[in-house]
């Protein structure tokens, strides 16, 4: 695969352009309560039922840091191989909006809790390191609802105060495909860590995309535009593609790019200006005087480091080294924690190579067809493991196994029971098989003659006849051996 080369450029009239992308990912921390209050964070609750006096910014209410959220962000930082800052500061980002009850968002501006780190991508043209600039904690705003009443807007504060990690990448991404890979990898790492469920539909993972273009070979970055809150990877990719082309067209016609914030219109598949640099908010950041600077003990960081689970990169390495998997297979198996868990459950008692193939080829085909995730798999890891063992022990053939697999999907049946009930057990008694083979050869004297005179293709015909006679249950290896012997 290494011969594949990176090849994402915008072909302008005056040459090739490189696309430079940086992402600001907002990941909702998996936690029972909010960043500065004890309100629950459950998704989908009735409007304004998960709101405390603090979340609604009543007079005299004060924020108190949720220690669990701090630990979640440290873990994430460690998962990104990043520097954990033992001293960080919460700042107020001031702006007015109806769904921002305090009139400011508590965030981290100059001193974030996590510094520089990295994410490794597996691209068809090899691995690529994407730098992480920083990770900081901040609280989410509420939600304005404009379409329920012709004259009024409504505000739902359930989300107000929910803990977010903003993960800022360096401008290291160069194509929509790399963005796809980056988001998936980031999501995978956080799901392994249990720090963010990564659910884009529920808004647990959102991203702002910074895009600029430059002539291939240029060292300096072009002027960038920020595309706000694109809520799916597909839309992100579409937005980047559109935006890069728009910028190239502007530049090639001698115009300049305005540094601005743009919105992606999913219906028109285009971006449009939201506000220019001149209209940019002055957020008047300053350290929140209600919160002391956050000081961490190195011992806490060490403790969390020790408790860190095996992450996708390490797991992949182990699968390659210890299980002899190809890099490609290992990549697929570790991409989601649940898949790797399933795989490791299957191989506890069965062959690794077969397990890999059955999961990646057969099981994934079923899941894709039925649009299910691995945790919803109709076949349990235990039963798949039993099926594989029946193949390796010679009880059933691979071909029969596929039929059994088909039947197992109905209600996760034990493959042994299916085989027994349907009488699908492989015929591996050489004497029995010999009888059948002698019978078939005697019925086909003419073909035996032809075979012996050189028409070796007919070997397959005899095998087919044996299978027909045994309804596919004959052990193929034995049939081969006996046939060869008899036809000699």
């Amino acid at each position: 695969m290494d011969e594949k080369k990176f090849n994402y450029f915008i072909d302008g009239e005056k040459g090739k352009w490189e696309v430079v992308i940086g992402l600001e990912v907002h990941a909702q921390i998996s936690s029972k309560s909010k960043l500065f209050s004890s309100s629950p964070t459950k998704f989908g609750a009735e409007s304004n039922t998960q709101v405390s006096l603090v979340d609604a910014a009543f007079p005299g209410m004060l924020p108190v840091i949720n220690q669990f959220c701090i630990e979640q962000s440290i873990k994430t930082g460690l998962g990104l191989k990043a520097k954990i800052n033992l001293n960080s500061v919460f700042d107020r980002k001031n702006y007015f909006y109806a769904d921002l009850p305090q009139g400011y968002q508590i965030s981290q501006y100059k001193n974030p809790i996590v510094g520089e780190g990295e994410v490794i991508l597996d691209m068809p043209y090899g691995t690529k390191k994407i730098g992480i600039e920083r990770l900081h904690l901040e609280q989410d705003a509420g939600k304005s609802i404009h379409d329920m009443d012709p004259d009024n807007s409504f505000v739902d504060l359930n989300r107000s105060g929910v803990a977010l990690m903003e993960i800022v990448s360096k401008p290291d991404l160069r194509s929509p495909e790399e963005v796809n890979s980056y988001i998936k990898k980031l999501r995978s790492i956080m799901r392994y860590l249990g720090t963010c469920d990564g659910n884009m539909q529920e808004g647990s993972l959102r991203a702002d995309v910074n895009v600029s273009v430059r002539k291939l070979g240029d060292k300096n970055f072009g002027t960038r535009c920020e595309i706000k809150n694109v809520n799916s990877i597909k839309f992100m990719q579409m937005a980047i593609e559109y935006e890069a082309k728009r910028q190239v067209e502007l530049l090639e016609s001698g115009k300049a790019i305005d540094q601005e914030t743009r919105l992606f219109d999913t219906k028109k598949n285009s971006t449009r200006s939201m506000r220019s640099k001149e209209d940019a908010h002055d957020y008047r950041y300053f350290p929140d005087p209600d919160l002391l600077p956050l000081k961490l003990d190195q011992s806490l960081v060490e403790k969390l480091k020790k408790e860190l689970p095996e992450l996708p990169d390490q797991k992949k390495e182990r699968f390659i080294k210890e299980h002899n998997l190809t890099s490609y297979d290992a990549n697929i198996l570790v991409s989601e924690k649940e898949v790797s868990d399933y795989y490791e459950e299957v191989i506890k008692k069965s062959n690794k190579k077969l397990a890999t193939n059955w999961i990646i080829v057969e099981l994934f085909a079923v899941l894709n067809k039925k649009n299910l995730s691995i945790s919803q798999s109709p076949i349990s890891a235990k039963n798949l493991s039993l099926l594989i063992n029946m193949i390796t022990s010679g009880e059933i053939s691979g071909k029969i196994a596929k039929d059994v697999f088909e039947k197992m999907q109905l209600n996760d049946q034990d493959p042994k029971k299916i085989v027994e009930k349907e009488g699908l057990k492989q015929q591996s008694d050489p004497k029995e098989l010999e009888k059948i083979i002698i019978n078939i050869l005697s019925k086909n004297q003419d073909k035996v003659k032809e075979y012996k005179s050189g028409k070796e293709k007919l070997f397959g015909y005899f095998v087919g006849e044996v299978m027909k006679a045994t309804r596919g249950k004959a052990n193929p290896q034995l049939v081969n051996d006996i046939l060869k012997n008899k036809l000699h």
Partner: protein, 484 residues
């Protein structure tokens, strides 16, 4: 027996304990005084019916304990009180009734006290004369049309006029000590973190601190003990044990070293202030304390620093009053217009002025020159005190550069109004405890106070020193009741 309301808090507490009188009698005495004193305009909200009910319930109890058994207390209207309107002196909260009780008032109620009413104050505690209140000026018992100081002006006036046995205020730049000085009462701003800020309408979070206002030092020790304590709901609250200030209170201050900072001799300071300061030095010398001249070199930068830091924090703290969730809301064609109308109508001029200043000093391009520089200077001011406290146990200064002034005298000149806080703001910037204790009168028979500044969490020492001054100054109120 003399009128109960003339007694000190401590005497009333002892009287109730000894069953010399009932809580109902005490409460009625203060209600009667309050009802006769409408001219002072000290109250924003009266809770007399509920207070009487609480008093009667208290009197039915066979056993009670707590530091404030059956004591009615009116408090500054900056403390959120459950089911009782809390306005912060502002139109924008004119209809706001909290569903919760501030930690500090809860602490008082836990000691047996109950709410008598909510007292007038400058709007969002921004002012030094109580003239910025939406609910009108408060009169100083020492003279009609005389300001009681601010921002805890209603508290100081009500206390001096004996409408409440004691009260609590908040002090961001002098809002307890200055009105105490103007009304001949005792006011203490505790160490930052000593009292919880939870449930107090915020003005400037890094400076705000609640504190007791009382008739004498003994009461001050008692009330401080009752209201203080760590609160996990306030991240800036500090978990240090609360002293038994009242039982440890002593006028024996022999050998304590008292610093006299030369920088507090400000230009154009009236001679009477200089004189009262000298008197204070003599009193403490007489009590056996050792007087030392010290220097707090960055004092002159305290006021400008304060008027950057406090408005900056206020501009952000007051953003929540936007008409969306509670409080006053004006109509508007769209969200922005609703905000503009609500805040234009809801806030008074001084609050608007400070929001503008605060917004300006935090703006990009100005942040480094103003806010960041102010924070650095604040650190230098604190360092001055830290250094001084290496040599001395407490610092003695005047509380204010003048006695109470006439209503309207300074309200059109914000800078001259701000200069009132010149001796008090360095203390808030440094987070230290300080007390104002009445020490004498000026030529117009208006009270003057002395300020004692202590080491962090050493409220006991400044209470003891104040007691020594109190005993020697023999300060007695000398106003006639003109308002009823």
């Amino acid at each position: 027996m003399s009128n109960i309301s003339e007694l000190t808090l401590t005497k009333i507490v002892n009287g109730i304990k000894k069953k010399e009188f009932t809580s109902e009698e005490v409460t009625n005495s203060f209600i009667k005084n309050s009802q006769k004193s409408k001219k002072l305009n000290a109250y924003i909200t009266e809770c007399f019916d509920q207070a009487l009910k609480n008093a009667k319930n208290f009197d039915k109890k066979k056993f009670f304990n707590g530091l404030l058994p059956g004591i009615p207390i009116a408090v500054k209207d900056l403390f959120c009180t459950k089911n009782v309107k809390t306005t912060a002196g502002s139109k924008i909260l004119n209809n706001f009734i909290p569903t919760y009780e501030s930690t500090v008032t809860s602490n008082l109620w836990a000691q047996g006290a109950f709410l008598l009413g909510k007292l007038n104050c400058d709007e969002f505690a921004m002012g030094s004369s109580n003239e910025t209140s939406f609910f009108g000026n408060v009169n100083n018992p020492y003279g009609e049309k005389l300001v009681p100081g601010g921002s805890s002006g209603g508290s100081a006036s009500a206390l001096a006029a004996e409408l409440t046995p004691a009260t609590i205020g908040t002090d961001t730049g002098g809002s307890i000590r200055q009105p105490a000085s103007f009304t001949g009462t005792v006011g203490l701003k505790p160490t930052y973190g000593r009292c919880s800020r939870w449930g107090i309408v915020a003005f400037a979070s890094s400076l705000d601190q609640a504190g007791p206002m009382t008739k004498n030092v003994e009461d001050c020790a008692l009330l401080l003990e009752a209201m203080s304590g760590y609160d996990s709901k306030d991240s800036t609250s500090i978990d240090i044990k609360v002293d038994n200030y009242s039982s440890k209170l002593t006028e024996k201050v022999k050998g304590l070293k008292i610093g006299i900072p030369k920088e507090y001799r400000v230009e154009n300071m009236p001679k009477e202030i200089e004189d009262i300061w000298k008197k204070g030095i003599d009193y403490l010398k007489d009590a056996g304390a050792i007087i030392k001249n010290i220097s707090l070199p960055h004092t002159m930068y305290a006021l400008p620093t304060y008027y950057i830091v406090a408005p900056a924090e206020a501009s952000s703290n007051l953003a929540r009053y936007d008409g969306v969730k509670y409080g006053h809301r004006a109509q508007g064609k769209n969200l922005i217009e609703m905000y503009e109308n609500t805040r234009s109508e809801g806030f008074g001029d001084e609050v608007k002025r400070r929001i503008l200043i605060g917004t300006y000093v935090l703006s990009s391009g100005y942040y480094d020159a103003y806010y960041l520089k102010a924070q650095k200077v604040r650190r230098l001011i604190k360092n001055d005190f830290d250094k001084a406290f290496g040599d001395v146990d407490a610092i003695l200064t005047p509380s204010t550069p003048s006695s109470a002034f006439k209503i309207g005298d300074k309200s059109n000149d914000p800078v001259s109004m701000y200069l009132n806080d010149i001796f008090t703001v360095p203390v808030n910037l440094s987070g230290l405890p300080a007390i104002s204790v009445p020490a004498g009168y000026d030529k117009n028979n208006l009270p003057l106070g002395l300020q004692l500044i202590g080491k962090a969490f050493d409220e006991q020492t400044i209470l003891n020193l104040s007691l020594a001054i109190e005993k020697r100054a023999d300060f007695k109120k000398n106003f006639k009741v003109w308002w009823s």
